[in-house]
């Protein structure tokens, strides 16, 4: 399927700017996204193709403006809801709880 993720040959993205001595993760939340995804994957909640498709179904603007682990987070939330592992209400109630806890 063609889509915004199919980037080969596209123009206009600018320089590559490799970061010298780059750390494996740049933020604590990236660590957690990686670990939770791997644990959920290991638990058989989705397969690798479903996960990639979860990323490929992102909207073009969100895909291009989001960082790599934001893509992962999007796919994780989407697949776990679609597969009935969690519901959006459960997630929303957690968002509320943590947002309030942070203030």
């Amino acid at each position: 399927m063609n889509g915004v993720h199919d980037l080969g040959g596209m123009h206009g993205f600018g320089p590559i700017n490799p970061e010298p001595n780059e750390p494996v993760f740049h933020h604590e939340w990236e660590r957690r996204v990686f670990g939770v995804m791997m644990a959920a994957f290991g638990g058989g909640h989705f397969n690798v193709d479903q996960f990639r498709h979860g990323i490929e179904r992102m909207g073009a603007v969100e895909y291009l403006s989001g960082s790599y682990y934001e893509h992962w987070l999007h796919a994780l939330e989407a697949l776990l809801q679609e597969h009935g592992t969690i519901t959006v209400d459960e997630l929303a109630s957690k968002w509320k709880q943590f947002a309030e806890g942070a203030h």
Partner: protein, 205 residues
Amino acid sequence: MAEHAHTAPPSDPELRIKALESLLAEKKLIDPAAVDAIIETYETKIGPRNGARVVARAWTDPEYKARLLADATKAIAELGFSGAQGEDMVVVENTEEVHNVVVCTLCSCYPWPTLGLPPVWYKAAPYRARVVSDPRGVLLEFGTVVSDDVEVRVWDSNAELRYLVLPRRPEGTDGWSEEQLAALVSRDSMIGTATIPTPAPGAAP
């Protein structure tokens, strides 16, 4: 609209992953201690030093190199490196005539057991878009000049097949041990965006 406002995810990824991890842990679908262990493994144990050992072995053992080019997955496993995202490996050899470089235009496929997790630039749009149409220009951005009489081959990885570049062994390293050679091998030389410079005379580590 009210329903949407209620369920639209917050913009802060830190809050979102905290919420998700907490929910999955409450449902006993993941164990936060196991999550910690996974993270630690990929931060400290699995990285390009593994791939460097494969390269150094291939440079010093012609029979190993032959096995590596014939069945990379199996030969890499001989050194103890296998598992997620390394299930089906191909090693492509740089020579006087050919320089290889690896990309995943569609996403981020990368040989985790030998190189660890990919750097940000490997997963980002500029590299993925341009290395297939202007590889020499991209290599220049990494400070890598490939002479015009050398063919550049770009390999597009996918979920079923991942590539590792076997870089050229630099001159002036005759008699170096496998361990000394491995110390010369950079991550980028195994992606193909770099070559390995000739060490200064007498620079054996």
